[in-house]
């Protein structure tokens, strides 16, 4: 059982259907008698409403039904919430957690612009929209709570009148003795950093189709989701049906990035409409809806302080952190605690003190997005470290050399729990080597010389560094079922739905190696609850670790069953058998080889004889991971600033990263590139902007600026493989990493470029106008 496929850059097996335009996304699904839904959404950020007058809308051509809260009340259960602190964490930290109750369709109050007020179902989408416009609602606007830090103050108007303030999740946390370290420090650096609201923005918006089959009482729903099993559980609760009667299929999904890992009102409303009407119903989110109603993300403020010795050794960190949750708190401790758990990153720091407030505001609810707290916390930390370096006259690379952990110091125990309640211990890696690898690949030392010469010619180039260590592959598990057919061909089913990550290829690589069959014998199905009973979904860089391990475990179990049957057939000892290329043979006797199909067929009874073994070539695994694996990377970016216009041009981008054992290097590169591009968006372009009334000003892709091929520079990757001891494949998670460091690295590089003027970048995105304002005040000073 050699690793024939794992580690190889095999071309993706799923590509041909995408390239031919034959992939099937939710909006491509058509069913006989299909109806179309459109929503009336609140135009106000915060308002009560009385009675929706549906008479005019209901009478419009093509309209089948208008649904309001009153029509659906029996079906409407509060949407599922996540993120209760697990044991191990709850014991260590006292969290204040105030739950919010969100309904799929609002009962008389809207808490963000975009919240659903009513649903129209008609014979076409256009006519459903016509009718939604004709609904009449009597609104009573309430004060909108918009700015997060102000919202956290007790005197702010409140979203939930029975709360003492707008803080939904609050806690303090400390390790070591930060007070003593600050007291003993030579240097104390304090700074305030702001990370904006920005988000995944998949090119395929969300979508839901649902059909109820009266004959067998099953509901089938296709949903552009990363988490079909979560959607299934939510529907089981809302509809009072057993999970087995609800089939959730995530077909081809056009990008997720976390945005499609949340539970949404539409997930329930479309199935409810299909049940109520006895006809299939489709809703395809349009971009305007996506901007205001799909989850937002990021937006944090950090008031951070570093205590350091004169030689640059960092002794302690204090951080006061605010997070903007939007109108509902559906994720509990996930984002705030992620933020804290990743603050120290690759740095050797033993003293930490944080105070955290996750705040509700009258804005679109936020949810984890690619990095989920890490890009924000890394921005605060790595910006602060660069500021400290400048203060004490050290090069940003040198201060990191003095503080980064090396291989000899791992495993490294932070002395606190991770989000899963288990001890936070970095399992493997070498952050100092990653730093040196990234610096070498980026030509850091040479650049320093060139930089001076360029400056003399009025050309301002800079180089910036950021590193992170990332808990990946969080459990509890992912389900995988491996099954052989009569010909020995393999089907693999897993709850880890793919939204472009190439699961059909990577899990086939894992299964093919574990079974000893050719890659093209394996077919992977992700995202169909009918194909695998238990599942969690794809998010949090967890699929390679959890699903990969489960696929490996299940395939290994099937292999054992094959070997047992083949041993009977070949009259050999099981331990003498080997499976290669889909054939079983006695080791050292290639002539003995029989095809897997023969083994399987021999296990079935004939008229003449019983089978040689039980005809059971199927196994399901929900592999248990002890805790997360710790992936890491160092990013180095080179850029040029035009000090007359504030325009930043990225020149080169280098990523030296460790995601443990690499399953498919080409797919890994693709994930890194895509993550970096999104991080560049966060650093320089993307922001969801609200006005003081809680109205979203960036409501289209004209204003929300996703980077194009002209804004993303060439990206070079250096793979450092430090296998994780925490799973059988030695893999670590990968999906999010690329997006974590770009904002910090780019901001650091901008400051580096403008070092002669001492410009300090404290917020993103660094738009030309923001940067020119910073330069202006410094140059004239």
């Amino acid at each position: 059982m050699g690793a024939r496929y794992v580690g190889a850059a095999v071309a993706r097996v799923e590509d041909p259907r995408y390239l031919r335009g034959e992939a099937r996304y939710v909006d491509d699904i058509k069913l006989p008698g299909l109806l179309h839904a459109a929503f009336l959404r609140s135009p106000h950020a915060h308002a009560r409403f009385r009675g929706v007058d549906t008479a005019r809308a209901a009478a419009m051509p093509g309209v089948v039904r208008v649904f309001t809260f009153a029509d659906l009340e029996p079906f409407l259960k509060p949407l599922p919430v996540f993120g209760a602190p697990p044991p191990g964490l709850a014991e260590r930290i006292r969290f204040t957690i105030r739950p919010t109750v969100q309904y799929a369709l609002g009962p008389g109050i809207a808490r963000y612009a975009g919240e659903i007020v009513a649903m129209v179902v008609a014979d076409s989408r256009a006519r459903a929209e016509d009718a939604a416009e004709a609904l009449e609602v009597e609104w009573e606007p309430l004060p909108a709570v918009v700015e997060m830090v102000a919202a956290a103050r007790p005197e702010s108007p409140r979203l939930y009148p029975d709360w003492p303030d707008n803080v939904a999740v609050g806690f303090t946390h400390a390790i070591g003795d930060a007070d003593a370290a600050f007291g003993a420090a030579d240097v104390v650096l304090e700074e305030r950093f702001r990370i904006q609201r920005y988000v995944g923005m998949p090119i395929e918006p969300r979508g839901v189709v649902a059909a109820f089959d009266r004959r067998d009482g099953t509901l089938t729903t296709w949903n552009s989701t990363q988490v079909p099993h979560f959607v299934q559980q939510g529907l089981a609760t809302a509809l009072g049906l057993p999970p087995g009667r609800i089939r959730v299929v995530a077909p081809d999904v056009g990008g997720g990035f976390g945005t499609k890992a949340a539970g949404y009102p539409e997930d329930a409303l479309i199935p409810i409409a299909a049940l109520a009407l006895g006809r299939p119903v489709k809703w395809s989110e349009d971009r305007r809806e996506h901007m205001m109603a799909a989850a937002h993300a990021r937006h944090q403020v950090h008031e951070i302080a570093l205590a350091a010795r004169r030689d640059g050794v960092i002794l302690a960190v204090r951080d006061h952190i605010w997070l903007d949750l939007g109108a509902y708190s559906g994720w509990g401790i996930v984002l705030p605690y992620n933020t804290v758990a990743h603050l120290l990153g690759p740095y050797r720091i033993r003293n930490l003190q944080v105070e955290v407030a996750a705040v509700v505001t009258n804005k679109t609810p936020s949810a984890p997005y690619r990095g989920a707290g890490r890009p924000e916390t890394v921005f605060a930390m790595d910006r602060a470290v660069d500021c400290l370096a400048r203060r004490i006259g050290l090069d940003p690379a040198e201060i990191r050399r003095r503080n980064y952990l090396g291989a000899d110091e791992l495993p490294w125990d932070l002395g606190m729990p991770y989000r899963d309640g288990n001890p936070l211990v970095y399992d493997s890696g070498d952050f100092r080597s990653a730093l040196e690898a990234a610096l070498a690949a980026a030509g850091y030392a040479e650049f320093r010389g060139a930089q001076k010469r360029l400056r003399e010619r009025g050309i301002y180039q800079g180089i910036g560094i950021s590193g992170y260590v990332e808990g990946t592959g969080i459990g509890p598990f992912e389900g995988a079922t491996v099954r052989l057919d009569l010909a020995g061909r393999v089907s693999v089913a897993t709850g880890a739905a793919s939204a472009g990550q190439g699961h059909e290829t990577t899990f086939a690589q894992v299964a093919a190696d574990a079974l000893g069959v050719p890659l093209d014998w394996v077919t992977v199905v992700g995202g169909d609850t009918a194909a695998v009973a238990f599942g969690v979904g794809t998010f949090a860089s967890r699929s390679a670790v959890n699903a990969g391990s489960s696929v490996h475990e299940a395939a290994t179990a099937v292999r054992a069953k094959l070997v047992r049957a083949a041993a009977r057939l070949l009259e050999a000892a099981p331990e003498d058998l080997t499976i290669e290329d889909g054939r079983v043979s006695v080791r050292g006797a290639p002539g003995s080889a029989v095809a897997l199909a023969q083994v399987i067929q021999a296990s079935l009874p004939t008229f003449a004889r019983a089978g040689v073994a039980a005809p059971d070539f199927e196994a399901t695994a929900c592999h248990h991971v002890p805790t997360v694996t710790w992936a890491s990377a160092v990013h180095v970016v080179r850029l040029q600033v035009d000090p007359e216009t504030g325009v930043v041009t990225l020149l080169r981008y280098v990523v030296a990263h460790d995601c443990g054992k690499v399953i498919n290097p080409r797919i890994v590169d693709g994930q890194v590139h895509g993550g970096v591009a999104q991080g560049i968006g966060g650093a320089l372009y993307e922001e969801l902007v609200y006005d003081e009334h809680g109205q979203l000003l960036t409501g289209s892709l004209m204003d929300y600026l996703v980077p194009t091929a002209m804004e993303v520079p060439p990206i070079e990757t250096v793979h450092l493989e430090y296998p994780s001891p925490r799973n059988p494949l030695g893999v670590k998670g990968l999906g999010e990493g690329g997006a974590i460091s770009p904002p910090a690295a780019i901001a650091n590089a901008i400051e580096d470029a403008l070092e002669p003027w001492g410009v300090r970048v404290t917020e993103t995105p660094v738009s030309p106008a923001r940067l020119l304002a910073l330069i202006g005040s410094r140059r004239t000073a």
């Binding site: 929209e129 016509d130 216009t645 325009v647 600026l705 804004e711 738009s767 030309p768």
Partner: protein, 289 residues
């Protein structure tokens, strides 16, 4: 995001088109390239009762070369003019490359962009810089509307609802004239935050007939007339250029929006004007392409 219902006409003859516009007035929208109108229809931000699609009209698809100008028919696509201009009108080609993306320019018309009158768009600024004009036709006849009279305010022209632009007239540069066209946008293909178009000639080593248009920094493209007067007759020194640009920037009344502050626009207008004039002077000297 599907358009609200509308009635649709695709007239072939000019009389028919003008008749429809006269009959429906404000209720009608002209559909040419559709790259600005159709997004507004899809968002239901524009809800015309009648859409008059002029794409089936004959005789509006020509680029006619005349001695001192080129005449661009109302249905000439931006992409077609861009390709045409690569030979003999590089300023035009340069400006058009900034307009959206290839697939937008394939459909978008030159006349349509002018009629849309976005103050951050390239073509209105170019028309102002070149002192071009449009020919507008209505049942009452036709008139030539010069650039400076065409643009009234943000997305507003002096054209009446019953008028149709049938032709755009772009004066050629004088022999030996140099030009510069620059803009700063958030991303490639976006509308400009700020831009500058400049044309100059040199006569006896002095600046002659300077023309500068700034865009993205006012309710319409702004002709920097006073700065032009400052420059005219001056030797083409950096000092003269900077002084003129400072004057022009000081006279601007830009607005702040999501993407840039008024102050940014003023400052960068000055910078781009200096750079565009620098390019223009360089080309006039025969230093540039």
């Amino acid at each position: 995001m599907k358009p609200a219902p509308f009635a649709y006409h695709a007239p072939r003859a000019l009389d028919e088109t003008l008749g429809l516009l006269a009959r429906h007035g404000d209720e009608a929208k002209i559909l040419a390239g559709g790259q600005s109108l159709v997004p507004l229809l899809n968002f239901r931000l524009a809800r015309p009762a009648v859409v008059v699609d002029i794409n089936r009209m004959s005789g509006l698809g020509e680029i006619r070369e005349e001695d001192r100008q080129i005449a661009v028919g109302a249905l000439v696509r931006q992409r077609r003019l861009e390709v045409w201009a690569q030979q003999g009108f590089p300023l035009l080609a340069d400006a058009l490359r900034y307009v959206g993306h290839h697939a937008i320019r394939t459909r978008g018309t030159v006349a349509g962009s002018l009629a849309h009158a976005d103050p951050a768009a390239e073509l209105p600024a170019l028309l102002v810089c070149l002192e071009g004009s449009v020919v507008a036709r209505s049942p009452a006849g036709h008139r030539e509307v010069r650039a400076r009279e065409l643009f009234v305010s943000h997305l507003t022209t002096s054209l009446r609802p019953d008028e149709l632009i049938t032709e755009v007239r772009l004066p050629r540069l004088h022999t030996g004239a140099g030009w510069g066209f620059l803009e700063v946008a958030r991303r490639h293909g976006d509308f400009a935050l700020v831009g500058a178009a400049a044309v100059v000639s040199l006569a006896d080593g002095r600046i002659a007939e300077p023309r500068v248009a700034l865009f993205g920094c006012g309710a319409t493209p702004v002709r920097a007339s006073r700065a032009e007067a400052i420059l005219a007759g001056q030797p083409p020194t950096p000092e003269a250029v900077v002084a003129a640009a400072r004057d022009a920037a000081g006279a601007l009344a830009p607005e702040s929006d999501l993407h840039a502050t008024a102050e940014y626009r003023r400052r960068v207008a000055q910078t781009l004007m200096v750079r565009a004039l620098g390019l223009a002077i360089g080309r006039a000297r025969g230093n540039g392409p």
